[in-house]
Symmetry: C2
Subunit: 351 residues, 2 copies
């Protein structure tokens, strides 16, 4: 038998949301967009054979140039990743020696502790307040090699204002990673802090905002110095040519993206109001393309099962009392959300 | 400023072969196939929008099933990577704590020491013999958390017989990684050792053999136990849906692949003979889709420059005296190789 590192042997690995391979599901469990970027699809459908045969551009130049233009910054402040998970992993590998601390709020993205464990680092959890607001003072005084803040938060979709984030950046943290995987849906972000604080890094994803979860593309925006170190550690050819080409096309179609985000926000707010007003459920204010619904006197787990039996997938997180009686629901199409609403209503009547 | 890990701050990163973004080059420097798999291209051109919008299958099930069929093994003995570089990196992360040894032969793939350095491991180099043959006894007695053997070797294309590899596997090594990125061109491989030794792992790539370098797909074949540990450490969605779909299609077109490999071998042997017989250059016997040419009394570097000025890219490795007066030449199309031959002939006349 091969001897495996102790921390790896002991861990169980990250469990991603269910991705059923068969069709027919109303899939509201992993926050995918209801459509993919049509420009990206067209780019893939007309891809040149040379893009398959030849190695990709190792530094994703065209994509970094496009990002630099959008953020009014320089291309070498960006690193493109094989999804933003790749970026989060690289940031830990660049800053954390075994035994160093990785700080993150709970509940939030459950990948952070897994990436930390792989690196042999120490997990430091800082609980959010009951209303999912940010414990700013506690975060300012907690030290680690890296601090992750998910904004908007996951699974509640809570938006943290830039002033709170700035206060944390000024508190002497080594590296503050702003995981803005869902920020496009919120209409704002904290990227303006990159020019102001050398210790801040914004991570974003095209998975949800551009409907490209299947193609794997995310990026980071930070100081040139940090970006240069991340470039050294990433796989040389970490992003396929097909993905680079599709991502450039997607970013170029700003009208489609703006409409997609505004429509999702509208459907989200409408569903939130109905669940709250008509069914009396607590829905946390969300700025993302999902909502967190607390089932109060009813059972979230029973509702989860009831929905599943009717072909509707939503997400339940059992590991934290703040969310253990809640369900996270992705903002699908209006027809999907109407079906979902009716099913939840029926489930509550039966319970 | 962000504090970076010392080993990362000190390193310079892997430098991949040049990938010019402009056209017009005869590109014989990074061993790409002369064509991409037509089945893969067709699959990409007709990809369903849902494959972009939805997350990929985290475990690349269809591809692992196809690999299991080909190798007459079980799907959970395989892990699919974002290129075989991803696999090599994961194998180090699974077995090497900081300070552990990573053993590899020199010259070979120059990524091994970089991956080792990122992990904070110790690089242990075992020199090949002057004719690129394997120092079997030395490798049997050198201990590390992982030992990499490139077969066929790179940059010479030397094939190491399975008996030599088996002897090394039996010598008490922790993990022996057989990096068979070019094995498809050789017509054989050492995958039969996987069932025999629990400490062996075969890594392969579809980059060259199937002309899919741009899509990033490789895989490992090993014991279920090792595969399960690598699965825990890989990015959950490390391989895009587009790449998974294309790879399954490529593996399904066995006739195209067999012809591609046989044709490359024929062109390789013909070029080797001409360089040797007509120009008196030493060409090492190669079983891969490239050859290493020693320029003897002539200058490899002058020839490299001469070829470059005429739009022909080949690869020079300066860091080892065994190869510092040699050039590695990828097996391009017959027309490209004819142009190359004439250019080398002219370069030698002028020198």
């Amino acid at each position: 038998m091969v001897t495996i590192r102790k921390n790896v042997a002991a861990m169980s690995g990250y469990v991603p949301g269910e991705q059923p391979r068969s069709g027919g599901w109303i899939k509201l469990n992993t926050n995918e967009n209801v459509e993919c970027s049509p420009a990206a699809l067209e780019a893939i459908h007309s891809i040149d054979p040379a893009a398959l045969r030849l190695y990709p551009d190792a530094s994703s130049s065209a994509l970094r140039n496009e990002l630099a233009r959008r953020f009014n910054a320089e291309p070498d402040q960006f690193v493109v990743g094989n999804g933003s998970d790749d970026i989060l992993n690289l940031l830990i590998r660049v800053t954390c020696d075994p035994g160093d601390s990785v700080v993150y709020t709970v509940p939030s993205y459950s990948l952070y502790p897994v990436l930390s464990q792989i690196q042999g680092a120490r997990n430091v959890e800082v609980p959010l307040a009951d209303d999912f607001s940010l414990p700013v003072r506690k975060l300012c005084s907690t030290r680690g090699a890296v601090l992750f803040i998910t904004n908007p938060n996951n699974p509640a979709g809570t938006w943290y204002p830039v002033e709170q984030i700035a206060e944390i950046c000024e508190s002497g943290q080594n590296l503050v990673v702003l995981d803005e995987a869902y920020a496009d849906f919120s209409g704002e972000g904290c990227s303006q802090l990159v020019g102001k604080y050398p210790n801040v890094c914004v991570a974003r994803s095209l998975s949800k905002a551009y409907g490209l979860a299947g193609l794997r593309v995310g990026y980071m925006f930070a100081s040139k110095e940090l970006a240069a170190n991340v470039m050294k550690v990433k796989d040389s050819y970490n992003v396929s040519s097909a993905t680079q080409i599709a991502a450039v096309a997607a970013l170029g179609d700003e009208a489609w993206a703006a409409k997609s985000w505004a429509d999702a926000a509208r459907r989200r707010d409408r569903l939130s109001q109905r669940l709250s007003n008509e069914l009396g459920l607590r829905v946390y204010p969300s700025r993302a393309n999902f909502i967190l619904v607390d089932f109060g006197n009813h059972s979230a787990v029973s509702t989860l099962d009831y929905l599943r039996e009717r072909g509707i997938l939503v997400r339940h997180f059992s590991d934290n009392p703040m969310v253990s009686n809640a369900l996270r629901i992705s903002i699908g199409s209006q027809a999907e959300l109407d079906t979902l609403f009716d099913a939840i209503q029926a489930a509550l009547k039966e319970s």
